[in-house]
């Protein structure tokens, strides 16, 4: 059986997905990046390999997410694409009539506008991280609510508390104030979801034409309270797909399959890369006052790639 692998390495989670020629998801893996993208990718590869039938041939691989370039070098990716395109491709494949995609991840959130199966516009959160997974995680911890129960708790609320959601710092102060004045936890939790949704729609979704069907994906889509808050604000159903948390990986697996149609032969190095000794190190270039931090990737002690310099003089490797 021919299969394609997609890896999405984000700030919080590393996701892998394997699809077959019909783009059916055969296996997926979701693990925490924990600030060590290389280890996460290697661990993920080991885990997902166990879930695959024995007679498979990897025809292609792709990487996406904020560590896409690093991952691409690591695994020998056939395609390295931004999260926006990967998410859009996966959503359009699973829900072909999709017009709007909400994607809320660990540290960023984006909106993607799709018409007739192609992306026509997108936006990402700029300087503000309010409304992303990290913030929810942090507040859940503060309220003593396990993040898994956060959504269900929000759904129990009949009168959500109004929380100021413009800024995470102020949202937190406002939430503490509401707690002190005796608001019930479920109401605060529900109010927080509503505040985040307002924030998202006003910042990331500003000026965009939000037409249904809307697909809501990324780690935060697990939160039923957020889904309900979106639906209340928009007035129509918001679809959370089955593989909402690994959509980026599925998308880039599909993109890898598309690439292989043209290039025929994969550059994927095989599952063995999970055993190879990869390291990264950095140094400060003192060639000019910019003092760029240059990152080097080493495979078994040998430098295989460099980036981080503004002028590009380190990018070229001397053989």
């Amino acid at each position: 059986m021919n299969i394609y692998l997609g890896i999405d390495v984000g700030s919080i989670s590393t996701n892998l997905a394997v699809i077959d020629e019909e783009k059916k998801v055969l296996a997926w893996e979701y693990l925490l990046t924990g600030g060590r993208p290389i280890e996460a990718v290697q661990r993920g590869l080991k885990e997902i390999e166990k879930k695959l039938p024995s007679q498979v041939e990897i025809r292609g691989g792709g990487s996406t997410g904020s560590a896409r370039h690093l991952t691409g070098i690591l695994i020998g990716a056939d395609t390295v694409k931004s999260e926006i395109i990967a998410h859009a491709v996966a959503a359009s494949h699973l829900i072909p009539e999709v017009k709007t995609i909400f994607e809320i991840g660990g540290q960023d959130s984006k909106i993607i506008i799709v018409r007739d199966g192609v992306v026509v516009d997108f936006a990402m959160n700029t300087i503000c991280a309010a409304g992303t997974g990290s913030f929810l995680d942090h507040q859940a911890q503060r309220l003593g609510v396990p993040i898994e129960e956060f959504g269900n708790l929000a759904l129990q609320s009949k009168t959500p508390t109004r929380v100021a959601g413009r800024c995470t710092v102020f949202a937190e102060s406002d939430m503490i104030h509401k707690q002190q004045t005796g608001h019930a936890t479920e109401n605060i939790v529900a109010g927080l979801c509503q505040a985040l949704v307002r924030n998202y729609l006003n910042n990331v979704g500003k000026g965009k034409e939000l037409l249904p069907p809307v697909v809501f994906q990324g780690g935060v889509a697990a939160n039923k309270g957020m889904k309900a808050a979106f639906e209340e604000e928009l007035g129509y159903e918001v679809i959370v797909p089955e593989y909402y948390h690994v959509m980026g990986a599925i998308g880039v697996a599909i993109l890898a399959q598309e690439t292989i149609v043209e290039t025929k032969k994969t550059k994927f190095k095989g599952f063995e890369v999970s055993e190879v000794d990869y390291k990264t190190r950095s140094f400060e270039c003192t060639g000019c006052p910019n003092l760029c931090e240059v990152i080097e990737v080493l495979m078994s002690g040998e430098v295989i790639s460099r980036w981080g310099d503004r002028c590009g003089k380190w990018e070229v490797l001397e053989k």
Binding site: S66, K81, S82, E83, I84, I85, R115, D116, G117, V118, V119, V120, D121, F122, M124, T126, G207, C288, P289, N290, L291, R310, C311, G312
Partner: protein
Amino acid sequence: MAIKVGIPRALLYYRLYPFWKTFFNSLGIEVVVSDKTTKKLLKEGLKYVPDEACLSIKVAFGHVKDLIGKVDYLFLPRLVSLERGTYICPKFIGFPDMIRSAFDNLPPVIDTSFNLRRRPSNLFLPMCRIGRIFKKSFLSIHQAYKKALEEESKYLSSLRKGNLLPEVLSSWEENPPPLLNTHLKSKSGGELRIALVGHPYNLYDFFVNLNIIKKLENLGARVITPEMVSPLAIKKETDKIPQEVYWSLGREIVGASFYLIESGSIDGLVHLGSFGCGPDSFLRELIADKIRKYPEIAYLSLILDEHSGEAGLVTRLEAFIDLIERRKAKVRS
């Protein structure tokens, strides 16, 4: 030894340098330009910047700081208006005063006012005043002025032929920053044409914009900028806007954008704004409003500040180019 006049490599440097340089050199005055923008240069200037300055003013402070101690005069002309009916940004008008109040070890500042709003033919007058500071004769000032105008028109016409500004400007510069532009052909065949619009000090300062022109070219785009559009075409477009756009550069950005959008010659348009810029916040919306009527052209708005992260910029640019390429592929199939 020749007198040295310092010109900061910031703000309207990118437009007016050939003119200023020719004028001063013809009078036997040496011109010293501040170093290219670096992390250190920006940081040094930030210590002196008043609150509420935009990114471009912050950068300019760094360049002024860089010149202190290296020159006999600082050239910070008060640019009020450079053409009929429009103004330069008020922050530029107040720039010499901001500098005076921030630094106390300044060399003499030449802050001659340029206000051509009513009579564009009055350009010689302020040039005369500058020349007289150095006790030059009217005849030699006039000759230097004529020569400066000639050089400027050479500069502008080369830009309008579609050459990128840093390449053209480098022939007037003593130590031009290394050129990072190489016109690459698109990998997937069929070159993408991307308009990159914004204030020249954002478009051509490679540090401030994280080298966006090279990034776009590496992604297979041919970059088109407002300087490549003729003033006549710009005027035709801005005349159609009911409300006058009275900032010189803003008018140019809007006019050039509208012209390029309507000409059908571009696949996408990127507006590059700087944080804290008032006009940019209007321009962005004017352009977005126009481009909505042309669904075949993709639009991306980016805002730069001194903390701009490379990752965010790269992700947006990659997605933007992918979006255009995938759409083109879909149309072809």
